[in-house]
């Protein structure tokens, strides 16, 4: 939204016009005009992801293969211009927003899916492949890609790797890091590296694990070997409704305490349910304080018993509705409703801020109560949707940024939310990444040594700060702080 001032001020740096022109000319010559955009309107359109922060890239490039990515890295490096990778631009933390007039490297044209290795259940995919397209592609072979972010119909595998994305079904199956076997990356110098392999446990240091979630600050992923899973033999999706949010939270704890790990355990509060129901007609009861969606998967003989256990637990916590989806169509409708939550809130107000924090599951009730208190204190309506099974909260603030003073209140409410979650033993981010949004909160969960260690890793892989600068690690994280002079020609 144009009227919206960024919550986090991007770094402002400049690149001399002559340097920019020379780089653009070189890139156009090497990649072709179709692969480079530099019109002010294009730069504006590519200046944002789905979050709040706006930047303005100096150039946008659309490489088609690893060689072109390496070319871009080398040319940009020679000109001292940093490079920021971007997929479909559905991130919420500003990870793909440039902090200066940098080169924005868009991966959407690298969308080839390799031949599926059915026996070993894996496939090489390029970073621009859309998450859901991969599963659609492999479904006829009886396989699917497990991590399912709510934006899965849009978001790319490259973005998932960068943010170690999760999703409703990651409770039982793990997040992206558990499904990436190997990758090819282009380093900040433009070298092509191969990391990991088809074996589940890589030899030596687990660089693969380090790369996943690094938000494009350690290298540009250009090919990924992902794990595929067969669909569960049977599944039951259960829709539950409760008179109080506390009942729903207690049911979540009860389910886990009973030794069940459902494939998904999702909660929505009443305002969220109302907004979603208007779009999806999923049959969510709009008069209940909280709705819980539980999905159990496994052997056909087991799922009915588990669904019944979930139902009984819910009833013991005063559930007013316990409905097991009768067919695949009803199941799909329930999930469509859940996954539309984010977009559906625009019906209320022109602006939103979707937050992402984590609390221990056992403190869920407390976290929700405090969220409501923060909402009240700052007079910012918050709708809640969360991956209850792993304590991942997504308070959604809904507001009109054109009202004077609102942004300050949103900012303050966001800070309170983070501090509250950290205070009760939680974390900064569940799955959206740190990006720019949470960069300056990193000190809440890391001490100096922790930040220094991360800054050192970055420095080892990207000594000149050419990869996605200004993200994740706050400035001044190195203990000796800027002890090393920036290299000549670096505009970071």
């Amino acid at each position: 939204m144009l009227t919206l001032p960024p919550v986090v001020q991007p770094l402002t740096t400049t690149i001399p016009l002559a340097v920019k022109r020379s780089l653009e000319l070189e890139l156009r010559r090497r990649l072709g005009d179709e692969q480079v955009a530099s019109d002010p309107l294009d730069l504006y359109v590519f200046g944002k992801d789905s979050g709040l922060v706006r930047g303005e890239p100096g150039l946008v490039v659309f490489p088609r293969n690893t060689t072109e990515v390496a070319t871009i890295m080398r040319l940009a490096g020679r000109h001292g211009v940093p490079v920021v990778p971007r997929g479909s631009g559905t991130g919420l933390a500003g990870g793909a927003v440039t902090t200066g007039p940098h080169v924005l490297l868009v991966t959407t044209r690298m969308n080839r899916i390799g031949p599926v290795d059915v026996e070993n259940r894996c496939v090489w995919v390029q970073p621009g492949v859309i998450n859901l397209d991969l599963s659609i592609h492999t479904t006829p072979l009886g396989l699917h890609y497990a991590p399912d972010p709510s934006s899965q119909s849009v978001c790319t595998i490259g973005g998932n790797v960068a943010n170690n994305s999760g999703g409703p079904h990651c409770l039982a199956e793990g997040t992206t890091v558990n499904h990436v076997l190997a990758m090819e990356i282009v380093t900040s110098d433009g070298d092509v590296l191969s990391i990991g392999g088809p074996a589940p446990d890589p030899t030596g240091l687990d660089i693969r694990g380090l790369m996943v979630g690094s938000e494009g600050t350690l290298g540009i992923v250009t090919d990924v070997l992902v794990n595929l899973l067969p669909p569960p033999p049977a599944s039951r999706t259960i829709l539950l409704a409760f008179p109080e949010v506390q009942n729903a939270a207690a049911t979540v704890s009860g389910i886990i305490a009973n030794g069940l790990i459902p494939a998904a355990l999702e909660m929505m509060d009443q305002p969220m349910t109302i907004a979603v129901e208007r779009f999806a007609n999923a049959g969510f009861p709009t008069d209940s304080a909280a709705v819980l969606i539980a999905e159990v998967t496994g052997h056909p003989s087991a799922v009915d018993a588990e669904a019944e256990l979930v139902r009984r637990l819910a009833v013991s916590h005063r559930a007013t509705l316990t409905r097991i989806a009768s067919d695949e169509a009803e199941r799909k409708r329930i999930w469509l409703g859940r996954k539309s939550a984010f977009g559906a809130i625009a019906q209320m107000n022109p602006d939103y801020y979707l937050h992402d924090t984590v609390v221990p599951r056992t403190r869920l009730v407390e976290a929700i109560e405090q969220t409501y208190a923060i909402s009240k204190r700052h007079d910012i309506p918050m709708l809640n949707v969360f991956h209850a099974g792993d304590g991942n909260l997504h308070p959604l603030m809904s507001f009109d940024a054109s009202v004077p003073g609102v942004m300050e209140r949103v900012d303050a409410a966001g800070r309170d939310l983070i501090e509250m979650c950290v205070a009760i033993g939680g974390s900064l981010s569940g799955e959206h990444g740190i990006g720019m949004e949470k960069r300056d909160y990193m000190h809440l969960v890391f001490d100096e040594m922790g930040l220094d260690a991360q800054a050192r890793i970055r420095e080892a892989l990207d000594p000149d700060g050419r990869l996605n600068p200004g993200k994740i690690v706050p400035q001044g994280s190195r203990c000796f702080d800027f002890g090393r002079p920036p290299p000549v020609g670096a505009w970071v």
């Binding site: 939204m1 144009l2 959407t108 849009v154 022109p350």
Partner: protein
């Protein structure tokens, strides 16, 4: 510079987009290019940039011009962004703020010639002579594909305008058939089927004099004043009927949105129905029969303005099933075929890629019959199917149903 017309994208329309990006994969041009600037979200962002003061320049025109206006994005938008309305507004701004021979030519065709029955009939005569003498081979490359996709034309086709067909059985009311511009001259068989089926379903069918082209193509190209004029003319012409029936999906979609253009436009818009809706309802009521004959496979192509704008998908399938045909699906996502009004002439490369892939999907179904309820889609499908060497017949669902009914009657008469 910003906006200069009252049709411009409104602040509330632009701010209703929260930029979640869920629209991206449903957009055919994003699918083909991978560009944010060729996506619904990117286009809205570009409109926002102009609203904030950016110029309506050549790049803005390119970004807006690449949109097919298929409106698949509206179906998946959880925020209900009125994208089609905003895009029509942006096009109106471009038309108002730019000039050139190309623009004047486009206005001449979409807003002037199509309104003139004389011009359409002259064009039809010329095209029919070209078809008969095989001079169509000499058509300029840009329109050669489109010409190849036409049905065999009559030099002086009979017009539906001014005719009346009395209702059979108990009369339900008066239904006016929208003659349309090219529908009347090039798709006479679709009109005949429509009239006969409506009459059999109990409607007295008229097609009033004084009606004109619906104005959809002019609206999509930004000729706002002409669009308003055409809407007003039709509002007067169709004032006194109970139902306004359209058998071209694009025209029906536009007429259902006359309230975007004229005060009181909803007065006509609320009476507009696509022929698929009316016929399917009559079949459901038992006023029209269901045949049990086995007519084989038919591939169903959903025109975007039927599926995404009018949200009509079940009705054509009901009609085809009643015709004894077995419907097979082409594309679960309903990506545009690339015809998109005059888009196939303006952006031939993008249109070709979409048309070819649609034709390949049709071929993969194995059906030798394709049902399409929109003239532009029909022409596009025929063009690209013939390029594949796939000799499938493309026809309107009501046409196929009417033919099946007639065959059944003849069989009954012989017995």
């Amino acid at each position: 510079m910003s906006w200069v017309t009252p049709h411009a994208p409104r602040p509330d329309e632009l701010s209703s987009c929260i930029q979640c990006g869920l629209c991206l994969p449903s957009c055919p041009t994003f699918r083909l290019t991978g560009l944010e600037t060729a996506s619904p979200r990117g286009r809205l962002t570009a409109m926002s940039a102009v609203a904030a003061g950016s110029p309506v320049d050549g790049r803005f025109e390119e970004i807006m011009g690449a949109c097919l206006q298929c409106r698949a994005c509206e179906v998946v938008c959880p925020s209900f962004v009125p994208f089609g309305r905003a895009m029509e507004g942006a096009r109106a701004e471009i038309a108002a703020q730019t000039s050139g021979i190309d623009r004047r030519l486009r206005r001449l065709v979409t807003a002037r010639l199509l309104r003139s029955r004389m011009a359409v009939r002259l064009g039809t005569l010329a095209a029919s002579i070209a078809q008969a003498t095989r001079l169509t081979r000499l058509a300029p490359p840009r329109i050669r594909g489109n010409v190849a996709g036409l049905r065999p034309l009559k030099g002086r086709p009979p017009s539906i305008v001014g005719r009346t067909r009395t209702a059979e059985g108990e009369k339900r009311g008066v239904a006016a058939l929208v003659a349309g511009c090219v529908m009347d001259a090039w798709f006479g068989d679709v009109h005949t089927a429509t009239v006969e089926l409506l009459a059999a379903a109990g409607w007295e069918v008229v097609s009033p004099r004084g009606q004109t082209c619906c104005g959809a193509l002019a609206a999509h190209d930004g000729w706002a004043d002409d669009t308003r004029k055409m809407a007003s003319v039709n509002m007067a012409a169709f004032r006194d009927v109970d139902l306004v029936v359209v058998n071209s999906a694009g025209c029906g979609a536009h007429m259902k949105e006359y309230d975007h253009w004229v005060d009181g436009g909803e007065q006509l818009a609320s009476r507009v129905a696509d022929v698929n809706e009316v016929v399917a309802e009559a079949i459901a009521d038992g006023r029209l029969p269901r045949l049990s004959t086995d007519g084989g496979l038919v591939a169903v192509q959903d025109p975007c303005h039927l599926r995404h704008v009018q949200r009509i998908t079940d009705q054509p399938r009901t009609i085809l099933a009643a015709a004894g045909l077995t419907a097979v699906e082409i594309d679960p996502n309903g990506l545009c075929c690339g015809a998109a009004g005059i888009y196939s002439l303006l952006k031939p490369e993008m249109s070709r890629r979409l048309g070819s892939s649609k034709a390949e999907q049709v071929e993969a179904t194995g059906a030798s019959l394709v049902a399409s309820a929109n003239p532009g889609c029909e022409i596009q499908l025929r063009t690209y199917l013939s390029q594949l060497g796939h000799e499938a017949r493309v026809a309107h669902p009501v046409e196929l149903y009417w033919e099946a009914l007639q065959r059944a009657e003849r069989r009954a008469a012989v017995r």
